[in-house]
C-alpha cells in the first residue's frame, strides 16, 4: 500500500498543498515550524479520523477558513482509491470513497493503513497506563475490526456497572435504606463476558508482539538490548483461553466486592491493566534514560508495523523527526530495518541526518509550499 498523492485545502498552515509521493522512501526536509508534521498529521487523520497531536478538530482548520479538506489517493494491489474528507469543526465530517459519498465518515477507516511514529509517542513509555492500553487496543482493532465492538460493549457495561456501584455507595453513605444491588450479578456476568474476550485478545497480541519489540529495540538502541513487554493485570498470573479468564475475572470481582462497594467503582478488569515495559531486569518507567525511553517508544511503533506486515497488510510507515535523535550507527541500523517498506515517509530538519539508502523522493518545504527536489 502507498499514498500516491495528498491534496490539502485550508488544512493547518496550508491554504493549498499538493504532494505527489512515490512508493518506497520519501523524505520531507525543511526547517522547524515549516509544516512537515502537518502533512504527516493529515495522512494520520485519513487513517484514524483523529489527529495524533490534538483532541479536537478546530486547530486543523486554517485560521479564517471554515472547512479543511484532505484528498488522498491510495494505491493498494495496483488499484487506486480516492479518499476525501471535509473537516468542519462542530459538525460531522463528510467523507467520499472513490467518487461516492459515504454515509458515515468511519467507513473510510481501513482504506489507508499506516503506522506513525511521532515525538508525542514518548508518552507511550512515560505516560499513564491508559496510553499503553490505547496502543494495544488500536493495534487489536487494526488487525481485527470486530474488537472495536468488543471494546465499546465492555466500556458501556463498565459505565453502567460503575453507575450502579456509585448509587449504592451514595445510598449507603446517607443511610437511605437498602442498597439496590439486585442487578449487580447481571452486570458482573456481562463485564466478565466482554472482559474475557478483550483480555484473551490482548494477551494473544502481546505474545505476538514481544519478539518484534525486542528486535526493533536492538536495532535502534545504543548498546544493550534486552527490551521486553509483558501484560500486567491486577489479576496476577492469567490462564490461557477465554473460559479460564472468565472464571478468574469473576472470582476477582467476588473478592473485590466489598472494596468496590466501599469506593463505588469497578476495581478489576482489563480497564485497570497495563503493558509492562522492561529493559533487562528493570522497568523502563522511572529507570530508563531519555534516550532509552525514546528508543522503546520507537520500538513499540516499529513492532506494530512489523506485526501488521506479517499479517499481510503492508501499511505505510511514517517516521516524524526520528533520525535527528540517533547517532550514525543507529541511523544506519534503522534504515536497514525500514528500508524495505512499501512506502516510508520521513521528516527531518537537516538534510544529512537521513542515511543515503533512504534517499528516495525528496521534498523541500518552505514558504507554505512543498517542492519536489528529485
Amino acid at each position: 500500500m502507498y499514498v500516491r498523492s495528498l491534496d490539502l485545502v485550508d488544512f493547518r498552515s496550508y491554504p493549498r498543498a499538493v504532494v505527489e509521493f512515490e512508493p518506497g522512501p520519501n523524505v520531507l526536509v525543511g526547517p522547524n515550524g515549516v509544516g512537515k508534521t502537518n502533512l504527516v498529521e493529515a495522512l494520520g487523520y485519513v487513517a484514524t479520523l483523529s489527529s495524533h497531536r490534538v483532541a479536537t478538530d478546530a486547530p486543523l482548520v486554517r485560521a479564517g477558513a471554515t472547512t479543511a479538506v484532505i484528498r488522498c489517493a491510495i494505491v493498494h494491489d495496483g488499484r487506486e482509491l480516492m479518499v476525501e474528507l471535509a473537516i468542519e469543526p462542530g459538525k460531522a465530517n463528510k467523507a467520499r470513497l472513490g467518487r461516492a459519498p459515504v454515509t458515515r465518515a468511519r467507513d473510510v477507516l481501513g482504506a489507508l493503513r499506516l503506522v506513525l511514529f511521532a515525538p508525542e509517542d514518548l508518552s507511550l513509555v512515560r505516560g499513564d497506563p491508559a496510553e499503553r492500553r490505547r496502543y494495544l487496543d488500536e493495534l487489536l482493532v487494526a488487525r481485527q475490526p470486530r474488537f472495536a465492538g468488543v471494546r465499546a460493549d465492555y466500556d458501556r457495561v463498565l459505565k453502567q456497572r460503575n453507575a450502579l456501584l456509585r448509587t449504592a455507595y451514595l445510598a449507603g453513605k446517607v443511610g437511605a435504606g437498602s442498597r439496590d444491588l439486585s442487578t449487580l450479578e447481571v452486570w458482573d456476568a456481562h463485564l466478565v463476558e466482554h472482559g474475557a474476550i478483550l483480555l484473551a485478545a490482548r494477551l494473544e497480541l502481546c505474545a505476538a508482539l514481544a519478539p518484534h519489540v525486542a528486535k526493533a529495540y536492538d536495532a535502534v538502541a545504543a548498546g544493550g538490548g534486552g527490551a521486553a513487554i509483558g501484560y500486567r493485570s491486577a489479576l496476577g498470573d492469567l490462564p490461557a483461553g477465554r473460559d479460564g479468564l472468565r472464571d478468574q475475572l469473576l472470582a476477582a470481582l467476588r473478592d473485590a466486592r466489598q472494596a468496590e462497594l466501599d469506593r463505588g467503582v469497578t476495581l478489576v478488569g482489563p480497564h485497570r491493566d497495563d503493558l509492562g515495559l522492561t529493559l533487562g531486569p528493570l522497568p523502563v518507567k522511572g529507570y530508563a534514560s531519555h534516550g532509552e525511553s525514546w528508543s522503546f517508544a520507537l520500538a513499540l511503533r516499529l513492532a506494530a508495523y512489523d506485526l501488521l506486515r506479517a499479517d499481510g497488510i503492508e501499511p505505510v510507515l511514517i517516521l516524524d523527526d526520528v533520525f535527528a535523535e540517533l547517532d550514525t550507527g543507529r541511523r544506519q541500523r534503522l534504515a536497514d530495518l525500514v528500508g524495505g517498506a512499501s512506502q516510508l515517509l520521513v521528516t527531518c530538519a537537516v538534510d544529512g541526518d537521513v542515511p543515503a539508502d533512504l534517499r528516495g523522493a525528496r521534498f523541500e518545504l518552505g514558504d507554505g509550499e512543498v517542492r519536489r527536489v528529485h
Partner: protein, 197 residues
C-alpha cells in the same frame, strides 16, 4: 426571540424528541399560517391522547380500555409470553404476523446511568403473571443493546428456577442484505454466533 404565544409554542415544540430549535420554529410558523380547523384537530388529538390513553392492566401496552386488543383476543395462545421494552416493539413484532402469544411491556430497560432499576420496570407484574402457571415459554425480546441484554439476563436468572423455558431473540445479519455491506461489528458478531446447519 419572538414575543408571547409564538415563542411559547416554539419552546414547547423544541422540547419534543427529535425536534431542534430550527424545526420548532418552522412548525410553529406553519401552524400559525394553517387552517384554524386543522390546528383545532391537532389540539383535540393532543388533549384526547392524555385523557383517553392508558396502559393495559395485564400487559401494560397502550390502550383505550381496561385491557388492550391483544390481551382481549381469545384466539391468541396463553402458553407463550413475549417480553419487550416499549409499546412500539409490540407493533414491530405484530407486523411480522409470526407471533400468536401474549406480550408484556416492561416500560424500558435496566439502566443504572439513568437510575432505572428493576423496581422501575414492570417486572413484579411480570412475575405475578408467570406465577399463575399458564405460561410455558418466555421469549426475551429486549433490544440487543448493553441495557437490553442486561435486562434479558436479569429476567432469565429470575424466571429459569420456575421451570419455564426462557428464549432470547437471535442477533446477526439482516435478511436480504449483502454480506459485503454488513459492518464489521455486526458481521463479527454473526461469526461468533454462527450455528450448525
Amino acid at each position: 426571540m419572538y414575543e408571547g404565544a409564538i415563542q411559547d409554542l416554539i419552546d414547547e415544540l423544541g422540547r419534543l424528541p427529535g425536534v431542534g430549535p430550527k424545526s420548532a420554529q418552522r412548525i410553529a410558523f406553519y401552524l400559525l399560517s394553517a387552517d384554524a380547523a386543522d390546528v383545532k384537530r391537532l389540539s383535540t388529538a393532543l388533549d384526547r391522547v392524555k385523557e383517553l390513553v392508558r396502559f393495559c392492566t395485564t400487559c401494560f401496552n397502550v390502550t383505550e380500555s381496561e385491557q388492550c386488543r391483544i390481551c382481549r383476543d381469545p384466539r391468541r395462545s396463553d402458553d407463550v409470553l413475549c417480553v419487550v421494552e416499549e409499546s412500539k416493539d409490540v407493533v414491530a413484532i405484530e407486523k411480522t404476523g409470526e407471533f400468536r402469544g401474549r406480550y408484556h411491556v416492561l416500560g424500558g430497560a435496566i439502566n443504572p446511568l439513568e437510575g432505572i432499576g428493576p423496581d422501575n420496570l414492570r417486572i413484579r407484574e411480570l412475575m405475578a403473571r408467570l406465577g399463575t402457571g399458564t405460561v410455558r415459554e418466555l421469549i426475551l425480546a429486549t433490544d440487543p443493546t448493553t441495557e437490553g441484554e442486561a435486562t434479558a439476563t436479569y429476567l432469565a436468572l429470575l424466571v429459569k428456577p420456575m421451570g419455564i423455558t426462557v428464549t432470547r431473540l437471535a442477533s446477526g445479519l439482516p435478511v436480504g442484505g449483502d454480506l459485503e455491506y454488513a459492518d464489521e461489528i455486526t458481521l463479527g458478531r454473526a461469526f461468533e454466533g454462527r450455528r450448525r446447519v
